[in-house]
Symmetry: C2
């Protein structure tokens, strides 16, 4: 049995992941807005995370992001309208569209990665370089354990 007081029991790993994650997200998407991309919302990262330099099919993006084609289409439509993506029919498959980042879209991806690195550096300043390195290492280990168990 767990006899610790509720306030302590409530400090779950989930909460300890969620709070920093939300803080990070505020920093990164705030920074993105400040850099001239206020239209990019957190959900859009599902696209930027999984699109490669040669673009990808809608279905491939959806599968990698673990969501339905319809949901991914919704996100892609928004980004295409804002000029971050451009889609063209696949010459090898008449059913498929290939979605690619535009130059503007590549700038967003770059800004996203920059801002993330900056935010991580600030974390290291706050909690110490060693501790931040251990944090990253432990998370990487955990993510690897998850990923082999149920590949994305």
């Amino acid at each position: 049995m767990d006899n610790r007081p509720v306030t302590e029991r409530r400090r779950t790993l989930g909460a300890l992941l969620r709070l920093p994650y939300e803080a990070l997200q505020r920093e990164v998407y705030g920074g993105l807005a400040a850099r001239g991309f206020p239209e990019i919302r957190p959900a859009h990262s599902a696209v930027f995370r999984h699109i490669g330099p040669d673009g990808a099919r809608l279905t491939a993006l959806a599968e990698r992001a673990g969501m339905t084609k319809q949901s991914m289409a919704y996100l892609v439509d928004g980004l295409e309208e804002a000029g971050h993506l451009r889609s063209a029919p696949d010459p090898n498959d008449g059913r498929a569209r290939i979605v690619r980042l535009t130059v503007r879209g590549e700038r967003v991806l770059d800004a996203l990665l920059d801002l993330s690195a900056e935010a991580e550096a600030r974390v290291a300043d706050r909690i110490g370089k060693r501790r931040a390195a251990k944090l990253r290492k432990a998370l990487e280990e955990w993510v690897d354990a998850i990923t082999v168990a149920s590949p994305r």
Copy 2:
């Protein structure tokens, strides 16, 4: 400049927090469904996280959860309909309603905390006890740093 390859640059702290968090959430809410509470969805945790043994006002819950009164009212309504909460007028303030957990609601909170602790134990099994302890410690430090900076 950051000259690491894109695949490595993409392994941001955000991603390293998000993936475990999502995995954890699946485990916990899956477990909750298995324990007979399939109607509890992740968003509802905003209520369980912030309600105390003596209940709370809607407005207080909303503020603690960092959302609008309207959004919190939506979540509370759902939980009240499902019998996890019961709300009564505040005898000291005619405007206010006090929302309290029912016995069923308390069982949910208990299950939530149990499942979280179990999930954390499984993480320790996977990545090692020492590493898991360091992970928790680093996250606690980070959360504390966030919380003093912008108290919730």
